[in-house]
């Protein structure tokens, strides 16, 4: 079972809550996915409203609410947003997203490391969105991160695991769970990440922007389960051609 900080998860699929055509569609997709943790942008939550539509739907889905800092541009804003989120949603879990570049939403490694250090000291369970940078992952571990969330490709691009070689290194070296975040556009991408040994994946656009988001949520649920099972079973090696004998060492058997 996946364990992040002190919490266990039986589903290794996490979802986002943006981009849905309605709160109802989001709610039904979450249920269909079997996900137990859904991230929500603090900026979308209206804490002054008597009943925020988005929040109510998430509460009804009975998932762990996981606020994110989407929209902030530096560590200072991120720490501030995390504190607001802790107050508003009564959780010390934070999905740290610092992407000052509004075009490709590329994460800022310097500000992210800085914010992780500060937030960990403040008692937050920090899960930072980062580029697939193995060294940054180790630095974040030292700073007290609860997991690392490297990207497969740019947010919302649906391009899949363009960073595969670096994800492999990260997975190999990591002492904290590795959640592949961003770019996963098809269930096959999610399955591949799980086969590689990622601990979980986070999917939003591929489900929310699908013509049938509920069916797509089920497809991702199954892909993640299949990928994890394959990883645990141990994938067979890929051979470029059939190898019948051991030509180099067969003499030893004689």
């Amino acid at each position: 079972m996946l364990k992040i900080a002190d919490q266990q998860f039986s589903s290794r699929l996490f979802l986002g809550s943006g981009k849905y055509g309605s709160s109802k569609e989001m709610y039904e997709s979450i249920l269909a996915s079997g996900s137990e943790m859904v991230t929500v942008a603090l900026k979308r939550i209206d804490t002054d409203a008597p009943a925020d539509d988005l929040l109510e739907a998430l509460k009804k889905a009975n998932v762990k609410l996981w606020p994110n800092t989407s929209g902030v541009r530096n560590a200072k804003e991120a720490v501030f947003a995390a504190q607001l989120a802790r107050e508003a949603l009564e959780t010390n879990w934070i999905k740290l997203e610092i992407h000052p570049d509004p075009r490709y939403l590329m994460p800022d490694p310097i500000e992210t490391l800085k914010a992780t250090e500060e937030l960990a000291k403040l008692g937050f369970i920090v899960l930072p969105y980062i580029h697939a940078d193995p060294v940054l992952c180790k630095r974040l571990e030292d700073a007290g991160t609860a997991a690392v969330m490297p990207l497969g490709s740019p947010i919302g691009s649906n391009k899949g695991l363009k960073t595969e070689d670096f994800l492999e290194i990260i997975i190999e070296q990591s002492k904290v769970p590795v959640i592949v975040d961003a770019g996963i556009g098809a269930p096959s991408h999610a399955a591949r990440a799980m086969e590689m040994g990622a601990d979980a994946v986070l999917v939003n656009t591929a489900i929310a922007s699908s013509n049938d988001s509920i069916q797509m949520a089920v497809a991702f649920k199954n892909a993640v389960i299949a990928g994890r099972m394959a990883y645990e079973a141990g994938l067979s090696k890929i051979n470029s051609r059939a190898s019948a004998t051991s030509p180099l060492t067969s003499f030893l058997n004689g």
């Binding site: 981009k19 900026k43 929310a208 922007s209």
Partner: protein, 371 residues
């Protein structure tokens, strides 16, 4: 180095010829490219692209859904003042329009806010003319302080200011600044703006640079559709956008499509931009730029607004008034222009839902602005 340096290397007439000589082959190339260039954009806004409108709309729809999801943000404009020292021949607030002027007091601002909040709005756009002796940075600071606790996101569309003034307002809580060049045709600009500070074309052209330098989160650009050839004007606006995006890379951008509307004492449009052309332009912007926000206001008709939602739009105003005090304080004061879509916020919200989209009232926390 600012946009003026780049702008000065272009000639209006050359760009016009270039746009109008685009062929269907250019359009097809533009449609099939992965990353579109300014040349592609010219092809997409050219007359040669008209037969490809449905294809453009489909692509625009797909790209917008991918980036923004099935959501439309809603905002309300709030006019603070119609005092103005400029003569702009197309604007109801023009100095030579001898009608009584009004600038809202604190109490009036709060009364307007109460009405706007009751409609459900959480994002507000503050609008004024240009009257630097009464409606200045201190006036804006005061107005923002008055309303800040009630809105998640505050934008301004006021006279061009200096960089440090933008900084001050950003720190006070302004998330975005909208400033339209009106037209990028320098000579024609002078005819439309014969008097006042606004008659300085270059100062206006350099304004988005000053906003960018101030660290403001978002810059809104646009041209007033109706003053000059919309194709050439939009080419320059897109060029401006490209430059800004590369220079102030931490800033978000939005494009608005103000089409000239009837107003008290104004001239007739020089160019009529048809619905079909507006849609072409909107889709062309999306095909050029996947992440720019595209905004459609209540200047547009019910019919157009009913159908344009899935074509690339990301934000809309609703139930708007274009005069200071228009919502609750003094409904009869001088308005900037007549709106076209007079439906209520509730009706527009329902329209968005019917189109399969989620109306979004809140997408920011003001407490994070300028912190």
């Amino acid at each position: 180095m600012n946009f003026k340096n780049i702008f000065d290397t272009y000639k209006w007439d050359e760009q016009k010829v270039s746009i109008y000589s685009k062929t269907s082959k250019d359009v097809e190339l533009a449609l099939s490219s992965k990353k579109r260039s300014m040349e592609d954009f010219k092809a997409l806004i050219s007359p040669a692209a008209v037969p490809y409108l449905e294809q453009m709309a489909k692509l625009s729809h797909e790209l917008t859904i991918k980036r923004f999801g099935k959501t439309i943000q809603l905002y309300a404009p709030m006019y603070l003042s119609n005092e103005c020292n400029n003569i702009c021949t197309y604007c109801g607030f023009s100095l030579d329009n001898k009608v009584k002027r009004k600038t809202l007091t604190d109490a009036e601002i709060l009364k307007e806010v109460e009405f706007i909040k009751a409609q459900g709005f959480n994002h507000i756009l503050l609008v004024t003319g240009e009257a630097n002796h009464t409606v200045h940075v201190d006036y804006f600071k005061n107005a923002i302080a008055l309303i800040k606790s009630q809105f998640a996101n505050i934008s301004i569309e006021v006279q061009p200011l200096e960089t440090d003034e933008y900084k001050t307002l950003h720190e006070a809580g302004v998330y975005s600044v909208l400033v339209y060049q009106e037209t990028y045709h320098k000579e024609v600009y002078k005819q439309y703006h014969p008097k006042g500070k606004k008659s300085n074309f270059d100062y206006r052209l350099e304004t988005p640079d000053r906003v960018g330098q101030s660290g403001t989160h978002k810059i809104g650009l646009g041209v007033l559709l109706g003053l000059e050839d919309w194709r050439v004007d939009s080419f320059f606006c897109a060029l401006h956008l490209n430059y800004l995006q590369k220079t102030y890379w931490q800033t978000k951008y939005s494009i608005s499509f103000p089409r000239m509307r009837p107003a008290e004492g104004i001239i007739e449009p020089n160019v009529i931009v048809k619905d079909k052309e507006l849609v072409q332009l909107l889709c062309a912007y999306r095909l050029l730029n996947e992440d720019v926000e595209l905004s459609i206001s209540t200047r547009e008709s019910e019919n157009l607004r009913n159908n344009i939602i899935p074509l690339g739009v990301t934000s809309m105003s609703a139930g708007s008034k274009t005069n200071p005090g228009g919502y609750a304080v003094e409904p009869e004061s001088l308005e900037q222009f007549e709106i076209s879509d007079e439906r209520s916020v509730a009706q527009i919200s329902e329209l968005i839902k019917q189109s399969g989209y989620e109306p979004v009232y809140k997408d920011w926390d003001n407490i994070l602005t300028g912190c």
